[in-house]
């Protein structure tokens, strides 16, 4: 993706430390502006103009996505609101098959002529490119659903909460961290609303209203004598929820070395704890490199699941469609066909799910009009399935798509994106503190930080926010300079215990990048605290 396609939100952490570059999908609109929805009958009329224009020019299939995408990003630091960005983007993307080849065109000129011209252009592009194609597109059959709708089941719409209430909360969070000794805090709240309408020549007219939310922060503590600094990021998760996620609830808290959160977040409490823990990191022992048994909290493990299971089981990667950018996959078709490829230990059960309540990936239908569902990816440690969409389903013998098609906006073409991919909890009762009791030499890791994995998803390295040394079943103190490196298959085969469903929580990625031009996808990953034996830990301390 071109750098100019991103907006570096001003003041978003020191030099963008908090979240890096945030793709701004849309243009700024006034904060607090009431939600404007487009009448469904009008959307159907516009969709029919496009579908008819495409058919009249020779398209054998066409789909239309009319999208109004709203984002609200509130960015603060210490006692200042740096930026309140409301964006809105409204337009139409038209995808067609003509002469057996895909074509796509998008426009924000939504009068009859603008729509028809875009449809004609999509067909012309398909016909032009057909000469480059080795075999025609083969779509898995899909029934039309008629006129249907779906909404994220939110309790409180974050866009309808007054801006002042949201900025006051962030400033209170910042004040709590500063009072507890932080030198700096950057905090942000992201709200996303996708109002999207899908129509296709299969006879579907699908209206959906999707909501997502992500509160986050980075606390920094400085030792001016040594010039060293330590940071601690929020332990929140981005969620497919409304503003109810921001309302603390004691029943949704897990108290321990720090407080961990299920389906309600207490941002104020987490910021207070973060300030104390950032201070404590100065005194933490630098880790001795070597093999450790790792006890990974879901706030850390979600990202390892995302990178080492979510991405390599995407069928488009397996087939080579991402070879030029995101990469391919070590989980080649022969391994799946064998029916006995041992991805992990027998404890490892990983499920794909596009319906999970509160998750980032939950929708009623995907962006090519396929109803969503749940299916097994890894069953008792064995690779049993992939994630795919309509034009690739036939390659693995499926009679229908799994509903994994997504586009970040009306402007971009939809393609295969990751479903929620989650590790299933252990079946026998086990709590994290009982898991730790059985570890002789280990590290308990909370929170996510640095992450990197190769283009076929073999070799990875992850860090965390908080590291606690375990000796003979006891937490003996805090560690720092920790990163764990492993090979995906060896790692998952070293999985020795998984806590039960009481401990199950969702983590997730708000801005997962893939494709050219690069697009963002939001996806959740559930897990309970899990133990992995004999993992290689390196020491990351350096001097410059």
């Amino acid at each position: 993706m071109k750098r100019k396609d991103f907006l570096q939100l001003s003041g978003l952490g020191a030099g963008g430390l908090l979240l890096g570059r945030i793709p701004l999908l849309g243009t700024p609109v006034p904060p607090g502006r009431p939600l404007e929805t487009v009448d469904t009958a009008l959307k159907k009329r516009m969709a029919d103009i496009a579908l008819n224009a495409a058919r009249s020019k020779g398209a054998t299939y066409a789909d239309v996505r009319i999208g109004r995408y709203r984002n609200q990003f509130i960015i603060t630091r210490e006692d200042k609101v740096l930026n309140t960005v409301d964006t809105e983007s409204y337009g139409m993307g038209i995808r067609v098959i003509a002469d057996g080849c895909w074509g796509f065109s998008a426009t924000d000129k939504l009068d009859t002529d603008g729509i028809a011209q875009a449809a004609v252009l999509a067909v012309a592009i398909a016909k032009e490119n057909a000469r480059l194609q080795s075999e025609p597109v083969q779509l898995a059959p899909q029934k039309g659903y008629g006129e249907v709708s779906w909404k994220t089941p939110i309790e409180k719409n974050g866009f309808e909460v007054p801006i002042k209430e949201k900025t006051d909360l962030l400033l209170a969070v910042n004040a709590a961290a500063m009072k507890n000794g932080a030198n700096f805090i950057d905090s942000a709240l992201f709200l996303v609303n996708e109002q999207k309408y899908f129509a296709s020549t299969d006879g579907s007219y699908i209206d959906q209203d999707i909501h997502r939310i992500w509160p986050t922060f980075t606390v920094t503590k400085i030792d001016s004598q040594t010039g060293k600094f330590e940071r601690r990021d929020a332990l929140s998760a981005p969620r497919g929820m409304g503003y109810e996620y921001m309302i603390p609830d004691e029943k949704n808290k897990i108290k321990g070395l720090t407080t961990l959160y299920r389906d309600r977040y207490d941002m104020l409490e987490d910021a207070q704890l973060a300030a104390t823990q950032a201070h404590d990191k100065f005194a933490a022992k630098s880790v001795e490199a070597g093999k450790y048994d790792l006890v990974l909290d879901p706030t850390n493990l979600w990202l390892t699941i995302h990178e080492s299971c979510g991405h390599p089981t995407e069928l488009d990667r397996v087939l080579g469609y991402e070879a030029n950018f995101a990469g391919t996959s070590f989980l080649t078709l022969d391994k799946w066909q064998s029916g006995k490829f041992n991805y992990g230990s027998p404890l490892v059960n990983i499920v794909a799910d596009k319906t999970q309540p509160g998750s980032l990936g939950a929708v009623g239908w995907d962006d090519e009009g396929v109803g969503t569902k749940q299916w097994d990816i890894i069953k008792d440690g064995i690779l049993v399935n992939y994630q795919t969409i309509r034009d690739q389903a036939h390659i693995i013998g499926l009679k229908e798509s799994q509903g994994c098609c997504y586009s970040q906006s009306w402007k971009d073409v939809q393609f295969q994106r990751m479903a929620n991919i989650s590790l299933q909890p252990g079946k026998t009762p086990l709590a994290p503190h009982d898991m730790i009791k059985n570890v002789e030499k280990g590290i308990y890791i909370i929170g996510d930080s640095s992450y990197s994995i190769d283009q076929q998803r073999y070799n990875f390295q992850f860090s965390g926010q908080l590291y606690y040394e375990i000796r003979n079943g006891q937490i003996t103190g805090m560690l720092k300079d920790v990163a764990y490196q492993a090979n995906t298959r060896e790692f998952w085969n070293s999985c020795a215990a998984i806590c039960d469903a009481q401990d199950y929580r969702l983590g997730g990625s708000f801005f997962d990048g893939k494709g050219q031009p690069e697009q963002s996808n939001a996806v959740s990953h559930g897990a309970s605290t899990t133990r992995f034996n004999g993992i290689n830990v390196i020491n990351t301390a350096r001097k410059i």
């Binding site: 006034p30 796509f104 924000d108 469609y321 190769d454």
Partner: protein, 445 residues
Amino acid sequence: MALLTPDEAQTLLKKVLSYSKADECEVSVSSNEGGNLRYARNSVSTSGASRSTELAVSSVFGKKQGITTINEYDDASLEKAVRRSEELARLAPENPEYMPLLPAQTYGPVPQTFIPATAAITAAQRADYVAQSLQIAKDAGLTAAGYLEHGASFSAMMNSHGLFAYNTQTGVNFSITMRTADGTGSGYSSKGYNDISQLDVRAASKTAAWKAAHSGSARALEPGKYTVILEPAAGVVLLENLYGSLDARSADEGRSFLSLPGGKTRLGEKLVDEQVTIYSDPWDPALPGTNYSNEGLPREKVTWIEKGVVKNLVYSRYWAQKKGVRPMPYPDGYIMMGGSASLDDMIKGTEKGILVTRMWYIREVDPQTLLYTGLTRDGTFYIENGEIKFPIKNFRFNESPIIMLNNLEALGKPERTVSGEGGGTAMIPPMKIRDFTFSSLSDAV
């Protein structure tokens, strides 16, 4: 809306400003038209075209600011946008860091960022370019996956203090990965220009094909410290994390690799080897950029690191005022000076080493030391006695660009390079570096 001329843009922006009743008002307008073609498995996969425009109005009362945007251009819509931004400004919290809009500025000559031939690329041309690339893959018995994208855009801004700025840009980017049928070899090449006539799809595809054909059956070397030659496409992804982080405020605040004990910074200090000079110059014909920043500040030629010494840091207008220095915006692109040696010359002059052609998945491990991890990818080779001897398996590294540039042995001739990670464009030389830290092996091809 098509691309407006400077006169057309002025007329439109003056009209919008005429509706303003705020203390200060700034209006900007832009449009973007482009297309792309993606291919994989030796066949087209997705392709498309899009166009979009926007007009943004920022109204200010005191230190309270409101911004609104619109993409309709009739008089009533334009006035509505101004009124709405004024309402928002009245409701907004005061921003203590708000800086008043700039007065009229004088900008340097217009850099050559817009090339009509690039703006005129058609769907048929896209297909022709990709057909050339696919033919090379088929002739070599390889599998190609690649991406071609192009775009043309203009943007203009005007404010109530008389500032007016205008620019147009075109760009075309091409990247290609070729893989052997058995999946044991892979090669990559990427190019990006303002001018389509500089893009040689055939040459880039041949480079990727050579690397794919010669990288199969790679041998495993033990992880450890090695002398490496980083091709520009490999080096840029680490360097961009150095020159993209030269921010004064975080350094002054004590939370940057540039921070020193007692609130001091490394500005003016020697940070890396004296062979390293990095600057930006909007008028460099090889890497032209805009002559003004997003805020309307004139861009100039700036030396960021000179002979290893940190000479300049980025200052926002607010931080510059607080520190009593001139504001210094981020530039469009960076140029790292090098020597005259070609990559081949550098390989010939290497007794033992590793040629790294691409790096991937670069992530920060420690912000205090600028330590990054990542992996080699798509063609890594062992060099002995001045020759490429055999392909080697990919490595994971944990390395800081600061440590790397202190271990610099030699620089080759810079070339225009597109980052495979951040997407930015820079002029980067091939670099020969001793004691580069590889920490583990990867089975990935």
